[in-house]
């Protein structure tokens, strides 16, 4: 775990790719992409069904560990229309003590009232004390933006033609992009500049690179 300070707020970067915002007692989770596995199966692609449970199990673990007051999903929580995984998700919501907020993303096509019925607030964006939480990364005057959507990763190179790609938290001067939480998702390789900070997820640890 890595602790960093942004505008005098304390954040914990967790190896699951979530960020815990201490001052708000809030867990930030981006791009879970629930429902993806069921969606594939529904269309005839035989991905093992139990992969679908992975995300919720991981989510349960991190929430149990940090027990935040609020869990805020930064978009793309659900990949598709209602399916079996929604059913599992509702059970998870019942079980979870935290308040849940969803900042809607481009894949979130499930109607907000379905979420409301579960007691989940759906908002296009969320501004808290100089921080703006969105799905798509944005630039907003006087706000530090925390977003998802990108599925950021970086590439490292070494001697003897070695190279690896790692998912990461990608922090620039006015922005933090969270890695994708979902297990069945890819990553997009970014090239950091001198001022960017990269926190990579490496075998259950979060490491600051450079």
């Amino acid at each position: 775990m890595q602790q960093i300070s942004i505008h005098n707020n304390e954040f914990l970067f967790h190896p699951t790719g979530t960020a815990y915002w201490k001052d708000q007692d809030m867990l930030l989770v981006a791009d879970v992409h629930l429902g993806k596995v069921s969606h594939f199966r529904k269309h005839g692609s035989a991905i093992p069904a139990h992969v679908a449970y992975q995300n919720l199990e991981k989510l349960t673990d991190v929430v149990n560990e940090l027990s935040p007051k609020t869990v805020c999903f930064l978009g793309d929580l659900f990949h598709s229309e209602l399916n079996q995984e929604w059913h599992d998700f509702t059970k998870w919501v019942e079980y979870t003590a935290a308040t849940i907020i969803l900042v809607a993303g481009n894949h979130d096509i499930i109607a907000p009232d379905k979420y409301l019925a579960l007691g989940i607030q759906v908002v296009p964006s969320l501004d808290i004390e100089g921080f703006s939480l969105t799905h798509h990364p944005i630039e907003q005057e006087n706000f530090f933006n925390i977003a998802g959507h990108i599925h950021p990763g970086v590439r490292l190179q070494g001697l003897a033609r070695q190279s690896v790609k790692l998912p990461c938290f990608f922090k620039s001067e006015k922005q933090l992009i969270l890695p994708a939480f979902g297990t069945f998702t890819g990553k997009y390789i970014l090239k950091p500049t001198e001022t960017d900070e990269v926190y990579a997820l490496v075998e259950g640890e979060v490491l600051l690179l450079r």
């Binding site: 993806k36 069921s38 969606h39 594939f40 199966r41 529904k42 269309h43 005839g44 692609s45 035989a46 991905i47 093992p48 069904a49 139990h50 992969v51 990949h79 598709s80 399916n83 079996q84 059913h87 894949h107 970086v154 590439r155 490292l156 190179q157 070494g158 001697l159 003897a160 033609r161 070695q162 190279s163 690896v164 790692l166 069945f184 998702t185 890819g186 090239k191 950091p192 500049t193 001198e194 960017d196 990269v198 990579a200 490496v202 075998e203 640890e205 490491l207 690179l209 450079r210």
Partner: protein
């Protein structure tokens, strides 16, 4: 009509054309009319089409004495060809005979190129002979009423069977035939194959396991031997000859006089990208050829390809730069000369290409070989010997390809549905699935109906449904459509259509190439400089550009390996009788290179196994030279890297070519340790190999095709990619998922099995290791790179293998940032 009368009809027709039938043709006619199945071994351009089409017509005449007045409707025969390009030729030849005998028989073509309107028309009323591809045959099996359509079938002829045999298209063909055997009672199965090492096996695979077919069959060999002369293009001075490379452009000037002095020359390259580059460079340097040379490869629009083929026949072209798209079939009489650029890697392929030239009787066909780098001259020398000694490779058939079986079962479920109890015996009778167990069969059925091996609550998996009568059927129209679009076993990267803004189709290119470009960028494709205007729905819209562009379209993949027969000869050539007794012109030309090699290291003799180590800016190189061909080296390098990685935490980058392989590391490697620990042993070979494959990409790459063929990864609707992007998942992710959650999945395991059986060609690795065990290992610690090592260490396509913690590795690495 008696058989003699029928055969006379054919002979008369032959005589009318001024021809004389060959013994193999007469043998085939008789065998067919006797109701036999079989395999005809005959080269291209030998009259094989008439060997089999004639008896099909004669059979029709026999069955319908009033054939001139009363045309019996319905499909009589299917002619399978692996290449669409060949279909027109076959159609014309077949139609000609049918017309001149006044049979009223029609010949139609049905391939991916056939317009929708024409296809619909065929569905209503089938031609008498259908020329088609394995994929299109499968599509017919995926349409309603196929049983009725194939009922009157008397023959299936599989042309160029050797091409299909060693691929999954062959499996597809076996499965298609297994169905036809049941539903077409009059069916005769015939294959036509060029000479390969395992012709008898080829016949068995085609006919399947059922004795009724096997025992009633013949193997007919056309005895026509062609003399072939191999002429290497050797540069005048070897100094400028590069030590690596795959283009061979430095010898471009040498082929110009060859082209000029013959009527038409075919210049064969190994890849489409290479063809594009050669075509462009010839024109740049010799603009006078404009309009007289053309290019032919699989990604160019069909119209253009047909135009090129016609132009070859009309003798309006001086030269055509082509890939394997012109390897087969079509007979081009004006072609006088063949030039092969780069090692053809296999003897059969080389001979096939050599055979494309029409030579005067009694004279040898000449094929020029242009090496792309110095060491390839050894290959030329080896090829010559192989041709002389008539060495032939085998084509290894696939076994238990569950991905193809799954696709086939869904195909049947899409059309009329199937009952497993009926289909299973058909499957067991194919060569590919002779060893399938009840459990594996049940696994496949579960896979297509449940998407897993156990029923899960609330699961929404939907593909094939089972009706109350036990019929397996696809009910969803969407799934049926997706399946029809996915039929096939050739997996390629997403292809984009290239079109002019004003309309007009130029060809297809891989998404990865165009993905790197922005609108306004220019590139060279199909011999034209084009500017990308926009990308829309899987179509790259372009316009002609006057700008010069250095970006020539490239295509992925296409690396071939030396066959085992070739590598054995190559090894012998290289080591023949010691250093200075090399007497072929090719080996003589390499004198300088061998000299340099001996200064820095050695040229290994027959009983020596050479290992070289040296350090460069890149890291610590260790090179091994088994001379066993790319695939064996691929396996051996990962095996060795794995075994070393057990001794110490280490990370390797692996590279290989046909001569040897490299283990590159950022730490020095102690070869003595490798020798002392006997790391080349054959003990626990497959166990270790399996483990090493887990840590490299080999099996993963095989899995990519399997995932697509079995329908786990949908490649998308043509021209509609954007809409279905969310249905495409990466086979890479799937591979990980199976590894972690379902390691006993048959498709996942198939990836490993295929890697063993096809990549390693059944124990070639073991034999190579056994050979190394008898050799003396010579470890040379060199000052710098050697001529032998150069092409390998500069190869950028690499595998990696590591036994280090990722955390430790990245400590020594640097983050790739914006420059």
């Amino acid at each position: 009509m008696t058989q003699t009368e029928l055969l006379e009809k054919a002979e008369t027709w032959f005589a009318d054309q001024g021809w004389k039938s060959f013994p193999f043709q007469r043998k085939t006619w008789k065998a067919f009319l006797q109701g036999k199945h079989g395999l005809l071994n005959a080269p291209t351009g030998s009259g094989k089409t008439y060997a089999l089409w004639i008896p099909i017509v004669l059979q029709y005449i026999k069955d319908n004495p009033e054939y001139k007045t009363k045309h019996q409707k319905g499909l009589k025969a299917i002619w399978i060809t692996p290449l669409r390009a060949l279909s027109v030729e076959i159609q014309q030849a077949a139609q000609r005979f049918a017309d001149e005998l006044e049979t009223g028989l029609t010949v139609g073509i049905r391939t991916g190129d056939t317009p929708q309107k024409e296809r619909a028309k065929q569905k209503r009323s089938m031609p008498d002979l259908l020329v088609t591809t394995p994929e299109s045959l499968m599509l017919l099996l995926a349409s309603k009423g196929y049983k009725k359509m194939f009922k009157s079938l008397t023959a299936v002829v599989v042309d160029e069977w050797h091409e299909l045999l060693g691929s999954k298209r062959g499996v597809q063909m076996e499965l298609g035939l297994s169905r036809l055997k049941t539903i077409s009672p009059e069916l005769r199965i015939w294959g036509i194959s060029a000479t390969i090492g395992n012709l008898e096996q080829a016949q068995d695979v085609l006919l399947g396991m059922a004795p009724a077919f096997r025992e009633n069959s013949v193997l007919i060999r056309a005895k026509r031997k062609r003399k072939i002369k191999v002429q290497s293009i050797i540069p005048k001075t070897m100094e400028k000859f590069p030590w690596r490379g795959h283009l061979g452009l430095h010898l471009l000037d040498e082929i110009i006089p060859i082209i000029k002095k013959s009527k038409t020359t075919l210049v064969f390259t190994n890849t489409r990208g290479q063809a594009e580059i050669w075509f462009q460079k010839i024109l740049n340097r010799y603009p006078e050829f404009a309009g007289e040379i053309a290019m032919h490869h699989g990604s160019i629009a069909k119209d253009t390809r047909l135009w090129v083929e016609q132009a070859i026949r009309n003798e309006t072209l001086k030269a055509v730069v082509a890939t394997s798209s012109l390897d087969l079939g079509v007979d081009f009489s004006p072609v006088e000369t063949i030039i092969q650029i780069g090692g053809p890697k296999g003897i059969a392929k080389f001979l096939q290409r050599a055979g494309r030239s029409n030579h005067r009787p009694g004279e040898a066909s000449v094929i020029y070989f242009l090496p792309t780098h110095a060491l390839e001259l050894v290959e030329a020398s080896a090829l010559k010997r192989a041709v002389k000694e008539e060495v032939m490779e085998d084509r290894i058939p696939y076994l238990l390809s569950f991905d193809v079986l799954i696709q086939y079962l869904v195909t049947l479920a899409v059309s009329e549905g199937f009952k497993p109890s009926k289909i299973f015996p058909e499957i067991q009778n194919t060569f590919c699935f002779q060893g399938i167990t009840e459990d594996q069969w049940q696994w496949c059925l579960n896979f297509i109906t449940l998407g897993s091996q156990s029923l899960q609550s609330y699961d929404e998996y939907k593909r094939v449904e089972v009706s109350s009568e036990g019929i397996f059927k696809v009910e969803s129209r969407k799934i049926a459509m997706m399946h029809r679009l996915s039929i096939g076993t050739i997996v390629s990267d997403s292809m984009l259509l290239v079109k002019y803004v004003s309309g007009g189709f130029i060809g297809t290119i891989e998404e990865y190439f165009i993905g790197k470009m922005k609108p306004g960028d220019t590139f060279v494709f199909a011999g034209r400089t084009l500017e990308l205007v926009r990308l829309r729905n899987m179509v790259a819209q372009v316009r002609r550009s006057k700008k010069k562009s250095s970006k020539i379209v490239s295509f992925m993949g296409g690396r071939m390996t030396l066959s085992s027969q070739m590598s054995a000869i190559l090894r012998e050539e290289l080591q023949s009788g010691g250093e200075y007794k090399r007497n072929t012109p090719e080996l003589k030309a390499l004198h300088e290179l061998f000299h340099r090699q001996e200064q820095e290291s050695i040229v290994p003799a027959e009983n020596e196994f050479l290992i070289e180590t040296f350090k460069t800016r890149e890291g610590y190189h260790a090179l091994f030279y088994p001379f066993e061909g790319r695939f064996v080296h691929e396996a051996m390098s990962s095996l060795l890297a794995y075994r070393i990685s057990l001794l110490q935490p280490i990370t390797f980058s692996l590279a290989y070519n046909d001569y040897g392989f490299e283990l590159l590391s950022d730490k020095p490697l102690d070869i003595q340790q490798v020798i002392d620990n006997n790391l080349f042993t054959t003990d626990y070979l497959f166990d270790d190999l399996q483990k090493s494959l887990n840590s490299t990409e080999l099996a993963r790459r095989k899995f990519r095709d399997i995932a697509v063929i079995s329908g786990m990864v949908f490649q998308g609707y043509p021209n509609k990619m954007a809409k279905t992007k969310h249905l495409q998942s990466s086979s890479q992710l799937l591979f990980d998922v199976f590894r972690d959650y379902e390691p006993d999945n048959l498709l996942y395991q198939q990836a490993f099995r295929e890697t063993f059986e096809h990549q390693l060609e059944k124990g070639r690795l073991r034999m190579a290791l056994e050979r190394i065990a008898t050799q003396e290992i010579v470890w040379k610690q060199c000052e710098k790179y050697t001529p032998f090592s150069f092409p390998i260490i500069t190869d950028r396509l690499r595998e990696k293998l590591s036994s280090e913690k990722l955390k430790d590795r990245i400590k020594r690495m640097t983050l790739q940032g914006e420059k």
